[in-house]
Symmetry: D2
Subunit: 409 residues, 4 copies
């Protein structure tokens, strides 16, 4: 057993930490001040400082860290990158600086693993360069996405084209001024086997028939300039060359995509909790009430200790899930991935809430990153499968494991 990071990971951790301390945290206020705060995404602009930061990060060799491929990315394994994803979770702007933001990471991975050479040239390379952004269109308003096979929007081959129809929402990233392409997942063959009915298709955002109806707020936060869109597809036609991997392979691709994505989400949640604890303890040392710093009052000692204990546990479990992905593969790590998908955002929700409480009224404003982080981690409890579905997965594996141990089939 070795609970220490590899020398390579330690090196990256130190460099990302230094970069964030020197460049990102100082830019937080300016970045947020350049937001419009408006629900109208057509007015959104990427804050100017972001491209500066991206250039600096790239120059520092801190770019595409999520990608295992050493040619296009940093060549880190899942457990190594996990530590960096945590650091990027300290605010909601850092991931983009390192070109490691969702959903682009997942989309790049999909194109890297399943894309044709042409698809990679046209879309993956500009994404890896950070020149364009992309969206992912899977969730639908009309069906329970907790059971993803419910997806009803269609992607039907017709001659040399694929015809796309339906309504998606929480299409993340689609409001970004640089968003040029989306990956659409839709129903191709309702008569096929349950997990072979859906396909993934690349759709340029300017294809006729694609219409962003609005951006959806999450707890009042629009996640500007990325946004989560409600999008309609009305007889949208793209060439068959835009199919990824082949018709009916949507779920196969999604499974590969979701594994690392969940690790990233969870580690960012943990980073958010770490940031909350950092801010909370700083505040509690400085703010005085009833003649004492808050940290010395009443149960705040317990609040701090409980936060630390919860963070440590969630982090270890997430790192273990990452390590299993590296060593025995996604499939063998399915129960652990479901575990962290419940544990990490719930833990972060509680810790960030405690951080807000320690800040008093300040905590609910946008003057600290806390309320934005709170919105982020709360939505993670719903995205990529709600808590309830993941608990069900964990219980299913547990019962099977126990039956096996009892000698029952």
């Amino acid at each position: 057993m070795d609970f220490g990071h590899s020398p390579r990971a330690q090196d990256y951790i130190a460099r990302v930490q230094a970069f964030m301390r020197d460049h990102i945290f100082p830019a937080e206020a300016a970045y947020h001040a350049q937001m419009t705060g408006s629900p109208d995404w057509r007015q959104w602009r990427q804050p100017a400082i972001m491209e500066d930061l991206k250039a600096k990060a790239r120059a520092a060799g801190l770019w595409n860290l999520f990608l295992k491929d050493p040619h296009h990315g940093a060549g880190l394994n899942v457990v190594e990158y996990a530590a960096l994803a945590e650091l990027m979770g300290h605010n909601t702007m850092a991931a983009e600086v390192f070109n490691c933001n969702a959903p682009d990471t997942g989309n790049m991975e999909v194109l890297h693993m399943y894309g044709t050479h042409a698809q990679q040239q046209q879309w993956m390379l500009p994404l890896l360069e950070g020149k364009i952004r992309s969206a992912f269109c899977m969730t639908e308003p009309e069906v329970a996405s907790s059971d993803a096979t419910n997806m009803a929007a269609t992607a039907v081959p017709e001659g040399d084209e694929v015809v796309i129809n339906g309504r998606k929402w929480f299409s993340s990233g689609i409001g970004h001024p640089n968003c040029k392409v989306l990956i659409f997942m839709g129903l191709t063959d309702p008569t096929a086997e349950r997990h072979k009915r859906h396909s993934m298709i690349l759709v340029p955002l300017d294809t006729p028939g694609v219409k962003i109806q609005r951006m959806l707020p999450a707890f009042g936060v629009y996640d500007e300039p990325f946004g989560h869109g409600e999008v309609t597809f009305d007889n949208v036609r793209v060439p068959k060359e835009n199919i990824i991997a082949g018709l009916g392979r949507g779920f196969e691709i999604a499974q590969g995509r979701l594994g690392p994505g969940r690790i990233h989400h969870c580690m960012r949640c943990i980073g958010g909790a770490e940031r909350a604890l950092q801010l909370m303890t700083a505040r509690g040392d400085q703010r005085v009430a009833f003649g004492k710093p808050l940290n010395q009052l009443g149960g705040n000692v317990d609040v701090i200790a409980n936060a630390r204990m919860a963070i440590e546990q969630a982090r270890l479990l997430t790192l273990k899930a990452a390590w299993m992905m590296d060593t025995v593969g996604v499939k063998a790590a399915m129960s652990e991935i479901s575990m962290i998908k419940v544990v990490a955002p719930n833990m972060a929700q509680a810790v960030i809430d405690a951080g807000i409480q320690m800040h008093g009224a300040l905590g609910v404003t946008l003057d600290t990153p806390l309320s934005t982080l709170a919105a982020y981690v709360r939505t993670v409890r719903l995205a990529d499968g709600p808590d309830e579905v993941h608990r069900k997965v964990v219980a299913k594996f547990e019962l099977a494991r126990q039956r096996l141990a009892r000698g029952e089939a």
Copy 2:
């Protein structure tokens, strides 16, 4: 013991319920659609439908229900009005319809109890008519308001005037287009006894030197068109006639103001939780996943039962606190008031969070009232004293009571 409402309360409950069913719930969507969604309060307008609803409510005799005085209000006691405050908590627009919204209710009560005839004529009557709105400026960004005697902004007599200086924030209601006056609480005499240092002063919003710096979001929600402002006072001068009750009486007035205000807040929290349970069970009956309505899946039965049990308990405790205010007075009910101030918003936070979870992604949007209610009840855990201070009060009374029972002084 009698856990039933008085016939008078039952009559009002039925009428408010009918009015909400017939007029307010159908207007929710239109009301929210007329919001700008912008942080810039200067663009805010009161949705047109509000004045219609107010006129209807007034015509129906459902107006100023909070005011015990049967001449100006409905003549209901605290426990009777509590039931109505709960109903108004089902969304964030109902209270204004019945002219029962904070902070106007508290301001009207203060003017009713402590105002001079001239103050009442000038400000209380238009407020009771619903023609103007008002704000309350107490909390300050620079000091821990959990210990309210920290307040540092000044209200100093100078000749025939009072001179006001300092910075306040979370001045609720100040963004409303109809807001005309604010009640300022500030330090008059730092050498006086701890609770006799502060005064309350009426300040017309257009007095030179009063400047709204910005509106403060709570979890991304601006509470449009009321808002919570950050306000600076720069040598603001008002005539001495604007002092309420007398210099140094700020805390005395505040105590009287806060008691009923806390009941109202708590009952609205309970109403918010009730609404969440209503929406959650409706959603859970309709939405299907894995072949079953959500209400029949996994632990949702426990979620629903736990919500019901928590609501019932919090409501009973809040009504008991209200009943004590009616029968033995605010002072004797101080521990109970602190109890509900912890219990009600925490309960509501948990129940509304569960309601959001049952709605999936829809729950975090503004398409249901859930995320707005979530922001509201979460801020109640900080407003009028954070949980921590109220728990301290409860423990203090408990220890005293136990010592008395043990025969120790």
Copy 3:
């Protein structure tokens, strides 16, 4: 609304409190010292002091307080008696002193409501006199009692007799040296309608074929001198006159029996929690660590406040359920009765656990009543229906209520 007790209840409360203060608490140590501490119930003796206390209580008019019938009991309604049941919950000996202990109370009620004159003469009167004790045999080891219709032990008529066979456990009270009779509930007609299959039969303890196999500990506590027995019935024959109310009426009787019984259990749980809070605060005032009384250290203020808030809420809900039983009947109060059956023992478990924690090692010993109370309230979460079943009942009623409100059948 009136949250105050009736003058009659207040009078009884004062008298029971005084009696406990003057006679019962001083006798606690002696009573427990006279226990054998042995699992072998044949060695159990009722501590001598009990009969003295019973005589005193009876002389003081504090006797059979649970019985509504003013002729045989005190004539108190459910909500009035509830307050007294709470006081008796302060330890595990008080209920017997006032002849108000389970399962005798339930058995007396059954005989009072359903017994023939002969049954009342033979068994109810000696029970009301406190001269004999009784047991109740319902739960079975082999079937899930959460679904009571599972009960499989048989009570079959044969000529002038009823023949009883099977195995029961957690037959409470059966180890008491004075126990003379038990009420057996068993299957009479497996072909009848689900809730008309079982009968209740009076069985003298010395009937041939009745064999106590052992006493069952609950968390190591045997509840001496009452005990919870595992009992076998091997061709036990009693005359048909011992049938209560009629064959097949077991569930009908049980329902009437369980309603008040659950109120009693819950109020005793609340009393146990109240006692724990009393002991915890006393200990916390006296015990010093790190230079301060425990009550002033860290989060203990929160522990105390949380305990008080939880107790108040659980009590109000239990009293409301009692009030509903008095005013609208058991049937209309079914959801509320299920609510308290979850809320009260869970609350008490948490509060008593906190009380133990505040006592350090002393808390886990038998030197305080805490660990015995902990065992008691924990078993209440299983007795008379486990939490899970009651939550299911609450959710069922809630969903029905919400559907009705939505205008759905």
Copy 4:
């Protein structure tokens, strides 16, 4: 990072698992049936089967596994042994089988590290052989042990002897028929520096003046045949040769003793939780209510998943603390050790409680190991420092770490 056990640990894990499956679990019922169940420890006998099992374990090379020294023990490091301690936590008899039971392990470690050659010959070797048992006398009834410097019983040098006086309790192991020696920790020099006032002394149990007053139950469980004694020392005289390490070095020794001891306790708690989950899932598969196995009813899926997630997290944190002890030493692991001391028993208490609930009435009896395990893990929340003290330690380290990160001293 490597979350896998070393080959050596894996080998031991497999062997201990096999031994427990083949020899210990089958003997559980017989072992418990041979208990007297009496509070009178003078009647206690070690069940005959224990010596058989010990001989078998020793023959299988599964003996003194806790001891790092490869000469006397297995030569495992802390993290390797931790996995075995977990397995031994599956019931309360296994640790003794492998000669790895508290407090003997700690006492052997103390003698191994600090004992003179004579002390080792006389006491350590027989302990390592499993021929005698020992006790540890530290906690006192009259002072708060959470602040261990409070200890008031005295160990005063007088000529060639040390004179011992005072009262100890929760002296674990002292009721064992084979217990021959105890380690006493007492006050030697009240004027010395706070952590240099106390000494540790070896006291043969038959020394005149040593008197066991009684055994203390923990939640009704006496932990027969070990027991937790209340012991008085009345002018007990032992030769100076019995001082361990030197006068005034009690705390120094205790610190070294407590580190590994806490790992062992925590891993046994985790083992207890694992056993509970095993029993709970087996029960839930077999027991049927309302037509379905319990595991498929309501929220039981969540109960099982929550248990699994909590166990995994607690285990990882405990193993990390163990790994830190191995790699950077006890001192650098102090915060982590305090974390697990809170996390592990609290987690286990919750999981075992859920296990009991799933068993219904059976769960509270002694027919499963659950209620004994519940008593064990609950006491761990008090032993070796209560939760409150450990949370305080964690918060203290956290605040220091955050200040350092902020560049504050």
